[in-house]
Amino acid sequence: MSTQVPETQETEESEAETETESVPVAQQQRQQRKTERRERVAERERERTEEEAASDESRYHLKVFRYDPEVEGKQEPRFDEFHVPYHKGMTVLDALIYARDHFDSSLTFRHSCRQAICGSDAMFVNGSQRLCCKTQLSDLEQPVRVEPLPYQEVVKDLVVDMEHFYDQMEAVEPYFQTNDLPDGELEEQRQTRENREKVKMSTRCIWCGACMSSCNIAAGDNEYLGPAAINKAYRFAMDEREGSDMKEHRMRILEQEHGVWRCQTQFSCTEVCPKDIPLTAHIQELKREAVKNNLKFW
């Protein structure tokens, strides 16, 4: 081996001992680790109970939804309380991570980018759909209630099943389709600045599912395409590069029974969308297009 280990006599010796007959050393080490570990567990427990008791203002009080089909005691949904030390700028996601890493490692939620772009941590916080990473604790009243997105099947704790949402997104043929590609592979299709501006907001969707979960109609009609999928269709229908035939095809998908006409203009989706996409306006515009084109409507 070419990796030199000059200062390591100590380590090398103890390693050799572990492997051969010198059991007492290994046992001692194990014992010591056990003691350390017990102390750590006790420390964590202390931290937690102290917090439970304290009504310290520098801590935030969270009530978090818990459910796990497999674990006794969690099979019935319940709320757990956590008191998380607060620092300026702390978000709901930061608080959940703290609670998980310090108090209960089985607390389960999705998250990844922590910058409002992966769309994985939409939850129901104090009665409204929000991205946890984008929501400052200081904007919320205590106790902060964190629940999974309503009207979705709960997999565990704050994790919901997104399959239905994905299916609806995929039902609108969510991909660019044109017969009019330039000849050269280095030749781009032209798009005017204005047209890009028109579709810009619709392209911002991060598939978080907040809109769908806030929509009464979607809650009652499982087949309703829902605001996110309709917005996805809008993104392509309004893109001048796709051409008019394709637009007609898209309009036919949108006009079906569970398409745009289901929307009752309640604006709840627009209110919760963390990307500020004017969802209701997009749906309305598509309804107008449908009428204008004098295609089938009911």
């Binding site: 070419s2 796990d68 910058q115 330039p182 890009r196 392509f236 893109d239």
Partner: protein, 617 residues
């Protein structure tokens, strides 16, 4: 057991592009990803994609800039491939409908970026990665490519030959996060790793929480060398409280850096008298930290990035996303005030050693994207060069794995070509801790028991599945112990303290000691959550093991490299040393301990040789 021709691990830009390419070559391809594709971190990329698209620009100029930016540690065949293929790949995205920003004539817009001699960064506002990721996922849906989403890949199933170069990868072992089921996936043609960066090695990073370096660690333990791991890019403009990135596009559009005295630091203190704020990232990061250390930082922590003079209209047109990020994550409205910024971990130049076809030294194992090191970035990546890397090398890996003939690679991998042994003076033994409990560290990449040479691919996959089941059982049945979160946070703290922008010998040694301690504690790690359903405790515990291996590789490489090159600054060695160090750092996992060796840099391109010059901006 599931079975496909090509299996792609990871669904960011590189993984999606690889899958599309493999399918175009007629392969039955599937993606296995721990996140649903649209949740991948590629979505966070902001600034843009470099591609020589315009008159007055050329792939040769792009290659020259990239080689210079790499501080002559890039391999010319890989760099030239990147720059030649990027225009076509970028326009391919446009043909797939990607919503690029547009010029008045309807063509895609381009802007200046650090270290580029031409404004060739093609972009979609300050959300290029989001647009790119979604556009490619749409193509996946269109083609009906199978995605196993929320499946965590635990390990590779690789045959057991003595020498890594003789081994073959037959598939992977993965864990269905929602159900807890562990399954084998047999790959008839090849496995492509596209698992992204290792940002979670550090505690102040622009990377997502999912970026834990899994693919690199798996390939490493299966016998593929990690290349140039010490070269970690720190981005000069991240928000101090979260590490959220403020794109280089802000400086590209004319944003200015000021210190506490309101001085334009890049010029005032001569850090980059020509390029100023647009010098490459390593130069600007050091400049900022030097200011902070000299007491000219604000709150002793950061400097200011000001873009107010650009005017609201231009800001909203080109950088709107930045306004939201700054407001939401730092509480600063950049139309009214300058933004606080400091350097943060951003990108790993190193990774799984591959050639310019994406292939590793193990037959049937490929890597692409940030987890790979085809060696296009050398010791410093230019902004806007990672996204083209994803699509160029993603496509090549996918096509090659599916059987397309891309010609013979010029870059040799593994210990086949010229190489020399390396030496490093470490204070503690690196590598696995040999505890009494074998299963505690039983996660080598190869099939676990010997004599497997003659075994069939199916058997090798089955055996790997058994080994992973044992590992999981052990972690889940252990009554108590240390939790991964503690170990992870210690590693992150030590790395940020000692293996950051500025590095010195004693600090690097301290980091190795800390890592050793963390490894020892890891032998006692346990999973508290008893449930098989969506057990993030278990997954993070396994990720933490990967973080440990990567952190150690970064530190070992940094301690050994006694020179100053690109992003790797050493207090004791303030000069680039071309005579001794024009070579790639390689680390191979040899029976549980890292072996250090080197291979030469390839500076000979298609038509010319890139002569190392002093890098000044």
């Amino acid at each position: 057991m599931y079975e496909h021709d090509v299996i792609v691990v990871g669904a960011g830009g590189a993984g999606l592009r690889a899958a599309i390419a493999a399918q175009e070559e007629g392969a039955d391809v599937a993606i296995v990803s721990k996140l649903h594709p649209v949740r991948s971190h590629t979505g966070a990329a902001e600034g843009g994609i470099n591609a020589a698209l315009r008159d007055g620009d050329s792939w040769e100029d792009h290659a020259y800039d990239t080689m210079k930016g790499s501080d002559y540690l890039g391999d010319a065949p890989a760099i030239e491939t990147l720059c030649q293929d990027s225009p076509k790949e970028t326009i391919q995205l446009e043909h797939w409908g990607m919503a690029f920003s547009r010029d008045d004539d309807g063509r895609v817009s381009q802007r200046p970026f650090g270290g580029l001699s031409f404004p060739r960064t093609t972009y979609a506002g300050a959300e290029t990665g989001h647009q790119l990721l979604h556009t490619m996922y749409e193509q996946l849906v269109k083609r009906g490519i199978k995605v196993y989403d929320e499946w965590y890949v635990l390990n590779l199933a690789v045959s057991d030959e003595e020498v890594p170069e003789d081994r073959t990868c037959h598939g992977i072992v993965a864990y269905d996060i929602q159900s807890g089921e562990v399954s084998g996936f047999r790959a008839r043609n090849g496995v492509i790793l596209a698992t992204g960066g290792p940002g979670q090695v550090y505690d102040h990073t622009t990377n997502a929480v999912a970026n834990t370096g899994d693919g690199v660690a798996m390939a490493y333990r299966a016998g593929v060398p990690m290349e140039d791991m010490e070269f970690i890019q720190f981005h000069p403009t991240t928000l101090p409280s979260t590490g959220v990135l403020i794109t280089e596009g802000v400086r590209g559009e004319g944003g200015i850096l000021y210190n506490e005295n309101g001085e334009r630091l890049m010029f005032e203190y001569g850090y980059a008298n020509n390029a100023g704020e647009l010098a490459s990232r390593d130069v600007v990061s050091r400049a900022e930290l030097t200011e902070i250390n000299a007491g000219r930082g604000i709150d002793d922590e950061y400097v200011h990035l000001d873009m107010r003079h650009l005017g609201e209209e231009r800001i909203i047109d080109r950088l709107e996303n930045i306004v939201h990020l700054s407001e939401d994550f730092e509480g600063v409205d950049p139309l009214e005030e300058p933004m606080p910024v400091k350097p943060g971990q951003h990108y790993a130049m190193g990774g799984v050693e591959t050639d310019e076809n994406g292939e590793t030294c193990i037959t049937g194992l490929y890597a692409a994207g940030e987890c790979a090191c085809a060696s296009v970035h050398g010791s410093n990546r230019l902004g806007g060069n990672a996204l083209p890397e994803l699509i160029v090398f993603g496509r090549r890996a996918g096509a090659h794995a599916a059987g397309k003939d891309l010609g013979t690679a010029e870059i040799t991998t593994g210990k086949r070509g010229e190489w020399e042994a390396g030496e490093v003076d470490t204070p503690v033994a690196p590598g696995a801790v040999r505890g009494t409990d074998e299963d505690a560290v039983a996660d080598g990449g190869k099939a676990p028991d010997g004599g497997a040479v003659a075994a069939t691919g199916d058997e090798i996959v089955t055996r790997a599945v058994d080994a992973e089941n044992r590992r999981i059982d052990r972690l889940m049945t252990k009554e108590d112990g240390v939790q991964h979160a503690e170990i992870r946070s210690e590693v992150q703290k030590s790395m940020t303290r000692h293996v950051n922008v500025f590095r010195e010998k004693d600090g690097l040694k301290q980091a190795l000691r800390d890592l050793r301690e963390a490894r020892e504690r890891y032998t006692d790690v346990y999973v508290n959550d008893p449930s098989r359903t969506y057990n993030t405790d278990l997954i993070q515990t396994i990720e933490t093991r990967n973080i440990l291996d990567l952190a150690e590789a970064i530190t070992l490489g940094a301690l050994a490299r006694n020179e100053f090159r690109g992003a790797h600054w050493r207090k004791e060695h303030q000069e680039r040393d071309d005579e001794n160090w024009l070579k790639h750092t390689m680390l191979s996992w040899n029976d549980g301990s890292p072996e250090l060796w080197y291979k030469p840099v390839i500076l000979e391109g298609e038509e010319k040789t890139y002569e190392p010059k002093i890098r000044s901006y």
